[in-house]
């Protein structure tokens, strides 16, 4: 068994860590890089709670051996907020009460981010397909879908809702 050094750009920052063969991207993020946003749910690729962006596309990080993705670019939920200002998707989830227990939320948000970067004006059906790999066992899908559509609308309009003032502010 060999241990290899893996270099990743995580949320724009170069990171390096040592990986055993069985170290998955999820395990590395959580245990070695201290990024616990992505969750270990099923470890089977079925629940989507570990969804992160790998070179810009959402993947289930529990199924990716870390040594196979040396040199790639990783985006996690921790990289979305700008200081204390949440991203539009995060803010829409918060405003729309789309979190419930919160376990699926980081994965949902990363799937939503990937959808909106590719398709700024998705239909409800397209949102459903985009989050079909993210399971919410609180069964809160309707507020989640609404929040993603809301985030898309905010992004198209170039506005955000100020969380404290509760009114729309043009960026």
């Amino acid at each position: 068994m060999s241990i290899k050094i893996v270099n990743l750009k995580v949320n724009g920052v170069e990171r390096a860590f040592m990986a055993r063969p069985e170290t998955t991207l999820l395990l590395a993020l959580r245990e070695q890089l201290g990024l616990t946003g992505a969750k270990r749910g099923c470890a089977q690729g079925a629940c989507g709670s570990c969804t992160v962006l790998l070179d810009g596309v959402p993947v289930v990080s529990c199924l990716v051996p870390a040594v196979t993705i040396d040199g790639t670019d990783i985006g996690t939920v921790e990289g979305l907020a700008d200081g204390r200002e949440l991203s539009d998707v995060q803010q829409a989830f918060l405003d729309g009460f789309a979190t419930q227990c919160g376990f699926c939320t980081p994965g949902m948000i990363m799937s939503a981010e990937a959808l909106l970067s590719r398709n700024p004006d998705p239909t409800t059906a397209e949102v459903n397909e985009a989050i079909s790999g993210n399971v919410c066992r609180c069964t809160g899908y309707e507020p989640i879908v609404s929040a993603i559509l809301d985030a898309a609308r905010r992004r198209r309009l170039g506005t955000r809702v100020d969380a404290t003032a509760g009114e729309e502010v043009t960026r």
Binding site: P21, G48, V60, S111, S132
Partner: protein
């Protein structure tokens, strides 16, 4: 557990490792769930991520898809519109961004819907082992376990407009294994069926080439009565299993319905 994960930079290195007993790793969406439990037998993997096997080529009506091409790349490639409904019926977006075309040929039923489509399309796989390169119809490839060979590409002739039919019945619209998958290439002349290749998933341990269905279709018209007769003829070819998705009884019962939906669109 995983004892080693190799990441070779070229195909020949990957072939040597596979020949020495390592297992080829595409996107990991079939293998990794079994290896993530820390209780699996010691396993050495060969990742194909850096071997340059991803990509799509089209020459005339022949399309060649590299084995490490992801299902998402197929989904978003306009030259592969015919496969779009197939790949979108498989798993979910974050899985399709990992899962590969080559890997799908090794997924066991009730997974591996792309392999079902490839059998209906009479696709041919390119194989490489230590003795060199060879070709094998996907139909033959998926009929048995293949341990010491590497698939590098899958090629097929693009079917004529409207001749490829595909229906997957599952518990949910997205992200669910097959209850019954029907893929077919049907050619007609003066409304008479002149050629039929019908492949089934979800109703056996492996992809089934439904010869009895094809025989019942060729020479007749695609009508309710001929398709119903073909469905009845096809029952003898099914060997479904009970699993968490559906019972064998249910799969058998609904197979003729989904054959009709695939062939007649209703």
């Amino acid at each position: 557990m995983l004892t080693e994960v190799h990441v070779p930079e070229d195909v020949s290195a990957a072939v040597r490792l596979v020949a020495s007993g390592a297992t080829a790793l595409g996107g990991g969406t079939s293998l990794m769930p079994r290896l993530n439990d820390y209780a699996s037998p010691p396993t050495e993997l060969v990742s194909l991520r850096r071997t340059g096997l991803a990509g799509v080529r089209r020459a005339g009506s022949t399309v060649t898809i590299g084995a490490a091409t992801t299902l998402s790349q197929v989904e978003h490639d306009a030259r592969l519109d015919v496969l779009n409904p197939v790949v979108r019926s498989i798993a979910s977006v974050p899985v399709r961004n990992l899962a590969t075309v080559g890997g799908n040929l090794f997924a066991r039923q009730p997974y591996g819907d792309l392999a079902v489509a490839f059998v209906a399309l009479n696709a041919v796989a390119t194989l490489v082992d230590e003795n060199g390169t060879s070709e094998m119809p996907v139909e033959d490839l998926v009929a048995a376990d293949r341990r010491s060979v590497l698939v590098t590409a899958v090629a097929f002739e693009l079917p004529g407009p409207g001749t490829f039919k595909y229906v997957k019945a599952a518990r949910r619209r997205y992200n669910s294994a097959s209850v019954v998958t029907v893929a077919a290439t049907i050619t007609e002349s003066d409304r008479i069926v002149t050629g039929a290749r019908v492949a089934l998933g979800g109703v056996g341990a492996r992809v089934i080439r439904a010869h009895a269905v094809e025989d019942a279709l060729v020479g007749g018209q695609l009508t309710d009565s001929t398709v119903q007769a073909a469905g009845q003829a096809g029952l003898s070819e099914l060997s479904p299993a009970d699993d968490a998705y559906a019972s064998a009884w249910y799969r058998t019962r609904v197979f003729p319905v989904h054959l009709r939906r695939a062939l007649l669109g209703r």
